[in-house]
């Protein structure tokens, strides 16, 4: 069955609506942390997140639960400042929320909560939950014949240590869930590392997989566009090593 749209996609892309640009992200990070310099763990995902929300994801910040939207699941919920900065930049919530980061009554915690933050698809923090949840999201979209949305899940290379991910990596191709894309931001922080590379963990299980520079916006955009019908897709986005 070919993909079908349940409703019309938005006439305006998020890029046209966005009040902030990529150049504004450092200032939006500073609003949260108070620091002018940002740690590697808070910025490793920044470029991938920006390219996703700026160029790839079909999602309307004014209607972030629309059925036609692409589902983006941030599995690596640790270090969410870049995620919050991008969501605020794209208008999912006011930038005035950013200085409340991690305060008692703030919607913005050290790990994101889907019930508190518009645009956040899953509450994360404990590692290894996003891709298994995304498996179910993709199963449900197929059962509901809502076949156009992509399900894109962001993980970290150290997060891949969790065995639950490998249950999903093996099962997703066997269940023919070709609308799933996994993106692994690789800052070489896995204690026991992945000899032979991360991409092979996916390609051995039947995924298409590419490894790219996780700071190169054109390469990131091309990698997400390279998903093929019939296979789930993995993007390994390599960034500088976590110090």
């Amino acid at each position: 069955m070919p993909p079908q749209l349940l409703e019309a996609p938005p006439s305006a892309t998020p890029r046209q609506l966005a009040p902030y640009s990529y150049a504004d992200l450092p200032a939006l990070l500073t609003l949260q942390t108070g620091d002018e310099k940002h740690t590697a763990s808070s910025t490793s995902t920044l470029d991938v997140l920006w390219v996703l929300y700026d160029r790839i994801l079909r999602i309307d910040p004014a209607d972030p639960r629309a059925r036609w939207r692409d589902r983006f699941l941030l599995s690596k919920g640790h270090g969410p400042m870049a995620y919050y900065a991008v969501l605020a930049a794209k208008g999912f919530f006011p930038v005035e929320w950013l200085p409340t980061f991690a305060q008692y009554d703030s919607p913005l915690g050290l790990h994101p909560d889907r019930t508190l933050v518009p645009g956040v698809e899953i509450s994360s923090g404990s590692l290894g939950h996003g891709l298994p949840l995304g498996t179910g999201v993709a199963l449900a979209l197929r059962a509901q014949r809502n076949l156009a949305p992509r399900v894109i899940c962001l993980l970290g290379d150290a997060e891949l240590d969790e065995g639950s991910n490998h249950e999903a990596i093996a099962a997703i191709p066997r269940l023919d869930l070709d609308r799933v894309t996994a993106v692994v931001v690789d800052n070489q922080s896995s204690s026991l590392a992945w000899p032979g590379g991360i991409a092979t963990r996916f390609s051995n299980e039947g995924w298409s997989a590419v490894t790219i520079d996780g700071r190169d916006h054109a390469a990131i955009e091309a990698a997400f566009a390279a998903n093929q019908p019939g296979r789930p897709h993995a993007v390994v986005a390599v960034v500088e090593q976590k110090s």
Partner: protein, 305 residues
């Protein structure tokens, strides 16, 4: 659908399969266990997109079911109790409760249903563990008809529900709904005995000829505290549960917190139970058969009555 099965597990398969036919929100997620039964009755062939077998991957089973709930479906995840609840407990805690979505967990192989398999397949702690989470409806059917009633109601709702199937069954169903039902009324001074699920028949046999009020419930969370307060006239209460001893003792104590009372909790004792054999032998070893229950209740009542 063929004649209604008296096996809880087969009745579950029948009712879930009917629900798949009738309700497009329903999905069943499996980790091999019971898949053969959904194949044999044709449900998998009719609903290949809504009966999902992920293989022997219980973490994924629970998470994928929760992911389907995020998209508005009503998933049923099913396996043996130790693997569904204990192995995948963080998935239950975070992917259902913390995401703020409901779903239905249906276990088989309760407590010592399959004792030949040993400790790895015993699941005495499932109810206590799930009871640490907010908002779960926890149902312990005593009969296949109660399984059907619980599952049909669970499918209608959006709440998180656990239904615990067992091979230990009562001879007949009790239609108590979610609350306590009075099965037998004793005199005003008689002890009140709460029998949970499959413990009803052994309790009735143990107390035949004794003066006791016998209450029954198949729903232990939420616990029917108001029903207990209304039923208890004498401040002596016995709670008999087919899993870890004392699992619902706190619920009884809370319901009676403003009344002087005595509570005897009976269930499966904590321990590494390194024995095989039959369920009847395990019930006898733990004092959960009728003679054991009679001895324990009589000895507890003895000095004070």
């Amino acid at each position: 659908m063929s004649r209604k099965s008296r096996s809880m597990r087969n009745r579950f398969v029948q009712v879930a399969s009917d629900a798949l036919d009738a309700n497009p929100r329903v999905a069943v997620v499996l980790a091999d266990i019971s898949t053969d039964r959904f194949v044999a009755n044709g449900a998998v062939a009719r609903h290949p997109d809504r009966i999902i077998n992920v293989g022997i991957r219980e973490q994924l089973m629970v998470s994928a079911a929760a992911g389907m709930a995020l998209e508005g479906m009503r998933p049923i995840a099913h396996s043996f109790a130790p693997f569904l609840v204990e192995r995948a407990f963080e998935q239950v805690k975070l992917d259902f409760s913390h995401q703020g979505v409901g779903g239905i967990l249906v276990s088989a192989g309760a407590s010592y249903d399959t004792p030949g398999y040993g400790r790895t397949h015993q699941g005495m702690g499932d109810v206590a563990l799930l009871a640490t989470l907010p908002g779960w409806r926890i149902t312990i059917p005593g009969h296949a008809d109660e399984v059907e009633e619980a599952l049909v109601e669970a499918i209608k709702s959006d709440e998180p529900v656990y239904i615990r199937l067992s091979d230990q069954v009562n001879a007949g169903p009790v239609s108590s709904g979610p609350g306590l039902a009075t099965v037998r009324a004793g005199s005003p001074g008689a002890v009140t005995v709460i029998a949970v699920g499959p413990m009803l028949d052994p309790v009735m046999e143990a107390l035949s000829g004794s003066d006791a009020t016998i209450l029954y419930t198949s729903t232990v969370r939420p616990f029917d505290g108001p029903g207990l307060r209304a039923a208890v006239r004498c401040p002596k209460v016995v709670l008999v549960e087919p899993y870890l001893e004392g699992t619902s003792a706190g619920e009884v104590s809370s319901a009676l917190s403003d009344r002087a009372h005595r509570l005897l909790s009976i269930g499966v004792p904590r321990g590494e139970h390194r024995h095989y054999g039959t369920p009847a032998e395990h019930a006898q070893a733990y004092g959960l058969d009728a003679p054991g229950l009679r001895r324990r209740i009589a000895s507890w009542l003895g000095p004070y009555t």
